[in-house]
Amino acid sequence: MLDLRYFAWLRERLGTGHETVETGAETVADLVEELKARGGAYAFVFDDLSGIRAAVDQDVVPFEAAISGAREVAFFPPMTGG
């Protein structure tokens, strides 16, 4: 089981900030393809990855990063702290 978290406009568009999934995805990119295949808001949100960042277990990673053994994957827009 993998916890997925969404923030900011992704969370609003998907209508949830958290879900738990069963997945066979080996990388973040594979997981994104699974989510896109759901269609609807997921297909919209993950259509253009240039505006999306991913974190595995709370570390930002590239989309080709492995997720085997991960507990949590998060997706969010570029950060605007400070």
Partner: protein, 148 residues
Amino acid sequence: MIPVRVQEAPFAMGAELDAFAAEAGGAGAVVSFSGLVRDIASGDLEAMEIEHYPGMTEKALTAIRDEAMARFSLTAAMILHRHGRMAPGEPIMMVATAAPHRADAFAAAEFLMDYLKSRAPFWKKEIAASGTGWVAAKDEDEAALDRW
């Protein structure tokens, strides 16, 4: 003094800075920066809402603060960042650095700010009568990291 704090409540910049300086360990220089909620071009900002990623936020801020302590000759450094809803003019966050001499204190404060802008998981939303929207990240904020 707790070096990294994430909180919803407002804070008093002066009191925070006094407390920091009192524990700054024989520093000769203290530099601080505070970010405030700025009005928007249309002049009708009602509030700013800041969302964050609990857990990752504390982890990222601690890593940024530790990196500043390692890179610069500091006696202390702190980061305080709010989340939730805040009104125009309210402080959003502050950093403070203490060093034997001012050059390290200034440089470290800029380093902390450059990393906070694009490496700390906060997202700002502006709420106004003329429209509500997420603040877009700026390319120059990402580019600012290149100098370090």
